[in-house]
Symmetry: C2
Subunit: 367 residues, 2 copies
Amino acid sequence: MSKLKGLGGERKKKVLAKLGEFGKAIVQDFERGIPPRLKIPSRGTSNIVYDERHRYYVLGPAYGIRSAASMTQVKKLAQTLCVADFCRQLVNSGKFATLREMYYTAEGWETGPFYDQEESNILVEDLEAIFGLKREDLGLMPEEDGAAVFGEIVLKEDNSVIDATKAGRGGYTIPPTIDEVEFVKCKAKRVIAIETMGMYHRFVQERAWKRFNALIVGLKGQAARATRRFIKRVNEELGLPVYLFTDGDPFGFHIAMVIISGSAKLAYINHELAVPDAKYIGVTASDITNYKLPTDKLRELDVARLKQLQKDPRYNTEFWQREIKKMIELGKKAEQQAFAKYGLEYVVKEYLPAKLREVEGEKFINP
Amino acid sequence: MSKLKGLGGERKKKVLAKLGEFGKAIVQDFERGIPPRLKIPSRGTSNIVYDERHRYYVLGPAYGIRSAASMTQVKKLAQTLCVADFCRQLVNSGKFATLREMYYTAEGWETGPFYDQEESNILVEDLEAIFGLKREDLGLMPEEDGAAVFGEIVLKEDNSVIDATKAGRGGYTIPPTIDEVEFVKCKAKRVIAIETMGMYHRFVQERAWKRFNALIVGLKGQAARATRRFIKRVNEELGLPVYLFTDGDPFGFHIAMVIISGSAKLAYINHELAVPDAKYIGVTASDITNYKLPTDKLRELDVARLKQLQKDPRYNTEFWQREIKKMIELGKKAEQQAFAKYGLEYVVKEYLPAKLREVEGEKFINP
């Protein structure tokens, strides 16, 4: 256990304990002559509920049974145990594997290879739902890295200390294993997460991170799991308010909303990912009019999507209902880079201070 | 000019000189009472030639004329000059803008807005072809960052010195402005570029960078322009041999080949991007048989693509012809993560040394 340290260490202990109990219960069943069975929280649509109190999607109480007594379920049960054992080995050794690697590794298991990767992925989701833990906590990492971060935060990974203003213009890259990273020091007072890397680099060039005491996060479109986890961690552990700056179109809105309230698909793990207090400071229908922004016409798909959002419980606030309605009426959308109409610096010098004053009120002092 | 320094400085001087001459020639034409005209190298298919000597695609001698004397061309000529002027301002101020930002900025130009971004992008390509310079040299940056790099190289960006073993597990991110980066120190002896981030993280975890004295580059699929430029620079300036490790399928082959011999589409700038001496160490049809790898069936699309590659001049070597033919006969493809069948470390402990011995021969000492 000498390798355990910091946050990563605490998490590891918790994970190993959960895996241990899980295995012990199976063994006990065998010892008592009872066929072991697993209770697996149902992830079907009917069991995904929007939790008004937490302000994100969660799983309801329904669950399914996987039993060794059933001829049709026993193989799946054995495979679930193999996956759990593979995870235990990973967590024990401090290593990480991709879902793809696990799928191929299974070629050597006693249960035989999976038919396709979808089959092995589902077992991982089963374990995540059973334990209420992310797959990353089980030693399984996503293929892709998370977002880029630029600003005054110092982090520790393994034995490296990283200053996110000195990791290069590209910034610090959020690793898939973000829960193993320790926050050493943070002078930043807020987080500004940005949809496109074009705008991220604009913010870095214009030194917005310094001017607004902010961690600038470049999302690269829809935020990766590691990015969402990073944002949640700085929000909860460091108490930084989070602002989301996206394009003014249904896809931009939803990039922000998935960070705020989580996705239905990941309802079983939103308690680790959702940031319900994050605020939208992206382009709105009102901005399009007020700033006379260059626009594109809404496509049919955009309108259909906006109409979906109107009915989505996550958008059930006065602000969102007003702005979505207005956008449909306007028939137009605008990108965050459209402010370049007024010069490259405008977005940082004019738009951002105005938006921050809106959300922070008196607290915000224009630098 | 006090801001100019290092490699970036030399480049800037060259770019400003070219832009200056370009503008002067236009002014002189006006002074002599001649309508100015631009010679623009043609980028049509018939003018793209595979250069056997350089081993990459180049433009042929054909060009088009854009003249102020033509009613249909004069607006485009004026727009070209506006783009050149915008670039001059960027280079002078040391700033960068995205193509998207330039498109929106044009709303304020005397020539009026562009119809769509395709229109302004083409003018940038015109200037690149006229000057033989990349858009990045003209202050225009791609939206996306380049690859991740892990290994013993120290770089300098602005006033930050970055050690690529200490930038975090995610590694050093190649910025869009890679030509402004200085190589301070490099202990690595070779470059291993990897298609997927899953395998990149495997290499970092297994300390392959240390074991093989290598810079590990995580390509994230088809390599970005900045990534290709980085690889070319470490190859030429530091003399490091380059090895490319991709999936064993037509898309993997082509990810490698675009790094080696450039793309036809970017023929006008391949002299800045192509790395003709880079070697393929990715999964081959022979590997599929020799290592008994888990495979997927070739889809119709894969077979069609392989047949295209057979006729492509870049694949006109004994090695590629043999391996492509063999893959079509096998009817199978395999991913780089398929080696996980033999355990997570196998790819680094067994496959890689075998491949490096193949390409480096006697020089390679197995660590």
